[in-house]
């Protein structure tokens, strides 16, 4: 990148910040297909990557885009694609492939109101459960969700770091409001961003087993075409990568797939708290809805309501411990979402009946307003 003064304040759009975050994290491959409201990411990458001598390609559809990213990632690149609901639905098959073949990649899904074409220019948060359970079969998932332009940058970096560290696809779940809004942000200067690269094999090729892991449960990934001639498949495979149906090989494989994530929950559970110390009423929110909730906390406190907000950055794995902690001792919890209760269901599961948890769902193509939340809380409390 040209020596743009990255440490100067800039007015950036959410999508722009995601692209810049990806580049800061070392993204050197992008394949995508245009779709509102994610196209800006593809456009920016088409401008930036050629100038750096890295590949950018607009593929024939979203299926091809993610396939292209997975191929590039196997060949050693840090690859990203960006899409919205309909394209994300098309990507599910290869997202599953990335999970089972353990290929790091970052998939940005800028949520719009759905299902299907829905409302392309209106925000929605209906893909939260899809990001977790969209593919067939069972596998863990890492899904992060920014609520501001600054967070878009940070979360994009984090997505790449998680993808590389855990050798897995990571979904960045943005939404139309966050994607399109512009905010003043000061980006860290070049070299001030923590960048994690995938662990590569330490043994000579003849001894390399692409799916044999050490205690970390995360196998080391060799770049295709660099002397390590291994096999990658979407079939359940043994340590050498060859298909297997032997129970004594299949079971440990699945166990490892889950363990590599579940053993790192503390690192993966990312939340932000606002005025939680003395709060009596808790709001749990994420994405653009967290912005409404922040305003509600401010306005509510001006009016004497002791409100607090737990903003979820990681949606999956669901940040169980922070949510449990935040729920403890609260008399009431409200979970506002632009869907019919996809995260409130998780909050209720974690809460296990101890605190009153209510969902606040809105599906009219617009954001939840702070006043709307306060009015709801007035009714509930």
């Amino acid at each position: 990148m040209a020596k743009t003064p990255v440490n100067r304040a800039r007015l950036l759009q959410g999508n722009e910040a995601i692209a810049l975050g990806a580049l800061a994290a070392g993204c050197d491959f992008f394949a995508g297909y245009p779709i509102t409201p994610a196209s800006e990411i593809t456009e920016i990458m088409s401008r930036e990557l050629p100038a750096l001598g890295h590949p950018f390609i607009q593929m024939e559809d979203e299926i091809a885009s993610i396939g292209c990213c997975l191929g590039a990632s196997l060949a050693g690149r840090k690859a990203m694609t960006a899409t919205s609901g309909p394209g994300f639905s098309l990507m599910q098959e290869n997202l599953g492939y990335a999970c089972i073949a353990e290929i790091p990649t970052v998939i940005v899904n800028v949520m719009r109101a759905g299902p299907s074409t829905g409302m392309p220019t209106n925000p929605g948060q209906g893909d939260v459960q899809q990001a977790r359970w969209g593919t067939h079969g069972d596998h863990p998932a890492i899904v992060l969700c920014p609520a501001s332009v600054g967070e878009c940058f940070e979360v994009a970096v984090q997505c790449f770091n998680f993808a590389e560290r855990f050798r897995t696809p990571v979904v960045l779940l943005s939404d139309e409001v966050v994607a399109h809004m512009r905010e003043k942000v000061t980006l860290p200067a070049e070299g001030q961003v923590e960048v994690i690269n995938r662990p590569r094999p330490l043994e000579p090729p003849d001894w390399y087993k692409p799916y044999k892991a050490d205690g970390s449960q995360i196998p080391r990934l060799a770049d295709l075409g660099q002397g390590y001639r291994y096999h990658v498949t979407g079939l359940v495979h043994d340590e050498r990568g060859f298909p297997t149906r032997r129970a004594d090989e299949v079971e440990p494989f699945y166990a490892r797939l889950f363990n590599k994530i579940s053993r790192n929950f503390t690192m993966l559970e990312m939340v932000k708290g606002v005025a939680l110390e003395d709060a009596e009423i808790l709001i749990i929110a994420y994405g653009c809805t967290a912005r409404s909730a922040q305003a509600a906390v401010r306005l509510g406190r001006e009016r004497g309501l002791k409100l607090g907000l737990l903003q979820l950055i990681s949606l999956w794995p669901f940040p169980r411990r922070p949510v449990e902690e935040a729920l403890a001792g609260k008399k009431l919890c409200l979970v506002p979402e632009l869907n019919m209760g996809q995260i409130s269901r998780e909050v209720k599961r974690v809460n296990n009946g101890r605190t009153q948890v209510h969902r606040h769902s809105k599906m009219d193509g617009s954001m939840i307003t702070p006043e709307e939340l306060l009015a709801r809380l007035r009714v509930l409390s």
Binding site: A2, K3, F29, A31, R47, P50, A51, G53, P55, I57, M59, E60, D61, I63, A64, S65, I66, G67, C68, C69, L70, G71, A72, S73, L74, A75, G76, R77, A79, E93, N94, Y97, P205, D223, L224, G225, Q226, G227, Y228, R229, Y230, H231, V232, T233, G234, L235, R240, F242, P243
Partner: protein, 282 residues
Amino acid sequence: MPPVHRSVVYEWLRHDKKFPHVWCPGCGLGVLLGSLVRTLVNSGLDKNRVVLVSGIGCSGRLPVYVDVGSVHTTHGRALTFATGIKLANPDLTVITVMGDGDATAIGGNHLIHAARRNLDLNAIIVNNLNYGMTGGQYSPTTPMGAKATTARYGHIEPSFDISALSATAGAAFVARSTVYHVTQLDKMLSLMLQKRGFSLVEVLSPCHTNFGRQNKLGSQVDMMKTYKRDAVRQERWEKMSQEEREGRFSIGVLVDRDHPTYLDHYAEVCQRAARLREEAKS
């Protein structure tokens, strides 16, 4: 081409992979596998710089037997993965192996766009006229009137001509061969590897287990004999009348043309972008 000693062929097969392979006795995929390995040996390529990519189906199982980097991807998507691999590392020789259903039905869109883009990929399409692995359902290349497990009363859809399709879409090199014409197949694969740009070889291969049995075509030996009977060298084919061509097909190089590949153009784009950056800086 110089004959390749079998012992060299064995060197290119994966020793830690179980042989005999998964395919039915007499399956043409085994013949193709042998031909591909011979060609790779003859090409003088470094094992470490070759990547084999496949989709799903019987053909999808081919790469696992070859001792190169191999990726067995999702159904129809082999070319998309291959595109990513090639773009990520243009020094690699990327070869995709697909079936007819894989490449022209579920992956048909990727095929035409890969051909149009003219990225330097090598595509082998094994055409056995049906979906073999799932039990003999009809595919886009099943001939009109033929029987399939999903066309019990005869197939009613016109079929694709894979080679003509990819030639029209812009492929730089298109050839057709059969697993019976194995020396010619070696030659076509070798030309394919030498060619820059999107190169495709359509390989007719018998599926006696499904297509053959349903259509009473006999064993794979019988089916291969029909290849011997019906195949016409492209040079002769061009001189044949429409009536003479009836019921026959041509083998050989169908298209061989030179136009800049995607990477040639992309290199220019990178230069242009870098130059504009420099100008903006100063």
